[in-house]
């Protein structure tokens, strides 16, 4: 058995478990890290997971209070095949490769995965002409199982598609997955294999960047020694690259707003409906989600990096989005919307998957422009980066025979495999029969199991992403406070200190009511 890595959180309130608080660098042992991964989104987490099978000292450091909390949390949750990726690019290579890896990987990670197929749909003459191009591009990208469909064939597969359909391309391996539990699973396994994880800590400077052993300076003033740095900070990668003087590049955040529709309201599509892609974007798609809802989105709105409201939703764009999406699936207009959110793709002007080894300083690897395909590509990109670390940054890779690559059976999320379906499990632990989130039917047992899971999540949002509690139609109307109380009771933190996503976002101001 490997030794667990250390898990530390920055500036937690007084009442949090002492062992989780990052107070001093002395808590980490003195040997410099072989690799420090800056950014624990889906890519950073996947890299930590893949690196953790080697005998290495690795750090995963993240400014948010959970893994996968930035760009990675706001995606369409689709595992793409790469049929429409730009041909002969690294992006295409990695997405295509990762698409083949995901089914088995999901089984190992114990994360939900469902192969539901996609259809690229042409609804006018102009689009119909594009179908051959879409097909040819798919074949060139090595997605040889795609098939051209006539309008009748599309209607036969999906009777509720727009009447205007002129034809389509079936992409059999496009699949649904869960980005939330994927980031968590990658990081949990890495932690278990000995990777240290520090959350809630922003890296603000790099000292001795030209030397073999550098120091990451954190916002909380602590210095962490490392031989190599991988910048996978997503939207923060540009700012961080400027700190260590990497080659200039520009991230231009592209906002993507989404609509989530309720389950149980009789939507009748079983495949992902894709529009004909344009040069700029894959366009607005309509898709079932692995959680049983229906999703439409994303918009594609480019903003300068300084735009503060980048993750805010707007009524106007959501209306346009609904109009666009209902062109593929007209009955969408009758579906009840239960949630809106905005994701941000971290696009790079200099190119997608813009990767620089020894980026103006030896031992620093910069990864930018991992845009909307990042969820899909993450395992293959991680493998690619390990290759670069070995070939160009002198990382010695010796396998650790004790490392694990999967999570145990009991890690399947409760919403995916319901524990109360088994009477014995309720008898064993009555909390497995106590539903706290009525909409998603999540139990107190599910919440507590995640509080006790390796990353020790303590915020409402981190529990939400892991359990789905608060993600249903009422959006926490009934369960938010009850879940906060479970966290409060189980972790012995006063209720008013329970936060949405870390310090500064506590649910209550400090007043106690007197009446």
């Amino acid at each position: 058995m490997s030794k667990y890595g250390k898990l530390l959180y920055n500036s937690l309130n007084d009442n949090y478990d002492e062992s989780l608080k990052f107070k001093d660098v002395a808590q980490l042992d003195d040997t410099p890290y072989d690799v420090a991964i800056v950014g624990a989104g889906i890519v950073g987490s996947a890299l930590a997971y893949k690196l953790s099978k080697y005998k290495l000292k690795v750090l995963l450091i993240e400014k948010n209070y959970d893994v996968g909390e930035g760009t990675s949390k706001g995606s369409s949750a689709i595992i793409h095949t790469g049929f429409d990726a730009p041909v002969d690019t690294l992006e295409s290579e990695l997405v295509t490769k990762a698409a083949l890896e995901w089914p088995e990987l999901a089984e190992k990670l114990k994360v939900p995965f469902k192969n539901c197929e996609a259809i690229v749909i042409a609804i006018d003459e102009e689009q119909e002409k594009q179908l051959d191009k879409v097909y040819d591009k798919g074949i060139k990208n090595g997605v040889i199982d795609i098939q051209k469909l006539s309008a009748d064939e599309v209607k036969k597969l999906e009777p509720n598609v727009s009447e205007k359909v002129r034809g389509g391309v079936l992409v059999p391996r496009e699949s649904l997955a869960d980005p939330f539990s994927s980031s968590t699973a990658f990081s949990e396994i890495a932690l278990q294999n000995g990777t240290d994880i520090i959350l809630g800590v922003e890296v603000t400077d790099v000292e001795n960047k030209s030397e073999e052993i550098k120091s990451l300076v954190t916002a909380c003033g602590k210095k962490i020694k490392t031989k190599r740095i991988v910048n996978v900070a997503g939207l923060g990668s540009e700012k961080f690259a400027k700190i260590y003087g990497g080659e200039n590049f520009d991230t231009n955040p592209r906002r993507g707003q989404f609509l989530i529709f309720d389950k149980h309201s009789g939507f009748e599509i079983s495949r992902i409906f894709l529009p004909i892609p344009t040069a700029k974007t894959k366009g607005v798609l309509v898709s079932p989600t692995i959680f049983g809802n229906l999703l439409a989105g994303p918009t594609a709105e480019d903003y300068p990096h300084s735009f503060e409201a980048i993750s805010e939703t707007t009524t106007e764009q959501l209306q346009l989005l609904k109009e666009g999406a209902s062109k593929l699936y007209p009955k969408l207009n009758e579906q009840p919307v239960i949630n809106i959110f905005a994701g941000v793709r971290s696009n790079c002007t200099q190119g997608s998957y813009w990767i620089r080894c020894n980026d103006n300083s030896p031992g620093i690897l910069t990864v930018a422009g991992v845009r909307s395909t990042g969820f899909t590509s993450s395992p293959a990109l991680a493998q690619y980066l390990i290759g670069k670390l070995h070939d160009e940054l002198g990382l010695n890779l010796e396998e650790n025979p004790d490392a694990i690559d999967s999570r145990p059976e009991n890690k399947w999320p409760g919403w995916w495999k319901r524990r109360y379906d088994n009477k014995e499990l309720v008898k064993e632990n009555p909390d497995n029969g106590k539903v706290v989130c009525y909409c998603e039917q999540i139990t107190k047992g599910d919440v507590i199991r995640h509080l006790d899971s390796p990353l020790k999540p303590r915020t409402l949002d981190s529990i939400k992403r892991r359990t789905r509690a608060q993600m249903g139609r009422c959006q926490g109307f009934d369960c938010m406070v009850n879940i906060a109380k479970i966290i409060s009771d189980h972790c012995e933190i006063p209720l008013k200190e329970i936060s949405k996503r870390g310090p500064g976002t506590e649910i209550s101001s400090n007043l106690t009511s007197n009446n």
Binding site: L259, H264, E334, D421, Y438, R473, I507, L511, S513
Partner: protein, 324 residues
């Protein structure tokens, strides 16, 4: 009728409507009744309006001449009614699915696990909730902490926790004004109320009643959009070029029926209003299935729901006697 059924009548929800129905059935001779309730107590929404010294009485007893009571007292009265019967109330029990044809209800709780029960008739009295941000269609913006629905505020009040000092309330019905009074009485400043309509939904005589505790400023708009602002916690809203400051937002009112189980059982439900389709007897689209209380849509007080439950029970009694 088939005697192998577990119960004569199953009622989903132990709020005013469910209890009203149960009491009427019981007094009319139907003794085999099960009530499935997901909360840990009887009384529904009124039970969350805590009785406090100096607190605000927000429930009316019109049948007793129209005097205001605490929700919690109303809930206690309902509880007392049930305690004098042998009606089975399954608390902390969540309905997972229903079978409309077989008139069975599947629920789960920590004592029995997942259970299937059958009956001759079922009454859905599962109440309503407040529309969420997306459902209101004109609300958008950031997703900071300290944006809460009234129910969440009431839940925190159970622990005497006042989450907001300088509140802004979105929505202007009676629930909004009751929340304003509650916050002020607990030590917050006079709330700002904003809504996407020109005058408050709450009728003037009720607003005058709440004036005893608070005098919130109302700002009505006719806007396409209202944006929530705040990075960590809510700091305000922007509407029609105006900004309103706050340290927390309460999203209030605009009730929407809890009719999901009807959808699960393929009973007819209007989308997007979520109001189940009923006939004049409060019967749903399948025979033997009935609805009562706020699940029928609209905005009704606890006492209205109680009497509506009784009315529905009359229909159920007729249905049962006809089937015999």
């Amino acid at each position: 009728m088939n005697s192998t059924k577990d119960y004569k009548v199953i009622i989903i929800g132990a709020g005013p409507a469910g209890i009203g129905a149960a009491m009427k059935l019981y007094k009319s001779g139907v003794k085999s009744i099960a009530i499935i309730e997901r909360n840990d107590r009887i009384g529904g929404i009124p039970s969350f309006y805590k009785k406090k010294k100096g607190g605000v009485r927000t429930f009316m007893r019109w049948s007793r001449g129209g005097y205001p009571v605490f929700g919690q007292d109303f809930a206690k009265w309902l509880e007392k009614l049930i305690s004098d019967t042998n009606i089975e109330v399954k608390l902390d029990s969540q309905v997972l699915e229903i079978d409309a044809k077989g008139k069975t209800v599947t629920f789960v709780n920590s004592k029995d696990g997942k259970v299937n029960i059958s009956s001759d008739a079922v009454i859905m009295a599962s109440g309503s909730r407040e529309e969420n941000i997306a459902e209101r269609k004109w609300l958008a913006g950031a997703r900071p902490s300290r944006v809460m629905y009234t129910k969440q505020l009431l839940n925190l009040d159970r622990d005497d926790l006042l989450p907001i000092k300088k509140p802004l309330i979105i929505g202007s019905d009676t629930i909004a004004y009751a929340a304003a009074a509650k916050l002020k009485a607990a030590g917050a400043s006079d709330p700002i109320i904003v809504d996407n309509r020109n005058t408050p939904t709450c009728p003037i005589h009720e607003r005058l009643y709440f004036r005893f505790w608070t005098n919130p400023s109302f700002h009505g708009f006719n806007a396409d959009t209202m944006e929530i602002k705040g990075k960590e916690t809510a700091t305000g809203v922007n509407v029609n070029g105006k900004h309103f400051d706050c340290d927390g937002i309460v999203i209030s009112g605009e009730l929407i029926p809890n009719s999901e189980m009807a959808l699960v059982g393929n009973l007819k439900v209007n989308i997007p209003s979520r109001i189940p389709v009923i006939n004049k007897d409060n019967q749903l689209s399948e025979s033997g299935w009935y609805a009562a209380g706020n699940i029928l849509g609209g905005f009704h007080g606890a006492e209205w729901c109680y009497f509506n439950g009784k009315r529905t029970a009359d229909s159920v009694l007729k249905y049962i006697s006809k089937s015999l």
